[in-house]
Symmetry: C2
Subunit: 140 residues, 2 copies
DNA sequence: GTAACTGCAAAAGGTTTGCCAGACT
DNA sequence: AGTCTGGCAAACCTTTTGCAGTTAC
């Protein structure tokens, strides 16, 4: 496996990336830590954090922004895409935006005059299927 | 000023909200704390946090998600809207999405089948005008 | 061989909580 | 009287850092 210039392929790094790629749930650092620890019982949380940051910096994975929680979440897929955040459980799921939205995002936004756009990200806030089933509703 | 059922209008709460509304820069809790402290020197940071959370919960202000920083930022405008995040300085600015985007967001997203959308949010990542001027560029 | 990396422990930084006194209704 | 609130200090949790020993190349 080749990572990038000057990034060495260590056992820790390889397994970390493997584990992250196994999940589409956008896990937190400590969730990743727990998963990796099953294969590398002596790995330290600091190593997990250092590598997640390094991999994100190199563009091999990405951080997912969550306003609601204080924990960072990580996405094995570094390409900009859209997420659905459950406002109840805090879970994050990938979303496939329609082609029209993708097309529009590449241009027609007012008031971005002097801001140089590198990437766009749409986040949906709402209830995930599980929470939706159990949330108390006002009307209906 | 009426806030909401059971929310009392205290001096702290009023000035906090006033100060937040004075800025479009989406300040952090400690920035708000500093601003408020000029009028209320004895206010505590805990009060600021408690009230920001309370006001956000009541839908009077909103939290802004930032993947990059560990500090929460706050927006006096509780209506869902779009933000531009500078990947260099971490600043956040409001964005006016085009009417087409707004229209599209209300419907045509695939794979949201079971997710109940309460609000949508578009974030742009890139360089704010100031950073843009001083960032070292690859080509050009 | 050597720069990059790891584990451990400690520190840092932001946010939250417990407690009691004070303010509002 | 009873509830909501604020200040203070301590606790908490996530993330970062320093250091000494180890590993990938």
């Amino acid at each position: 496996m080749k990572l990038e210039n000057s990034l060495r392929v260590t056992r820790q790094r390889r397994i970390l990336l493997e584990q992250l790629k196994l999940s589409d749930a956008h896990p937190t650092a400590s969730e990743i830590f727990d998963a990796v620890r099953k294969e590398l019982p002596r790995i330290s949380l600091a190593t997990v954090y250092r590598n997640l940051e390094l991999l994100a910096e190199k563009g091999l994975i990405q951080l997912v922004g969550t306003a609601e929680s204080r924990q960072k979440r990580f996405d094995w897929n570094p390409r900009p895409h859209c997420h659905a955040h459950c406002v109840r459980c805090g879970g994050v799921a990938d979303i496939e935006p329609s082609p029209e939205i993708n097309a529009l995002l590449r241009g027609s936004v007012d008031s971005l005059r002097d801001f140089e756009v590198l990437a766009a990200r749409i986040d949906f806030l709402g209830y995930c299927p599980q929470c939706r089933a159990t949330v108390p509703r006002c009307s209906e």
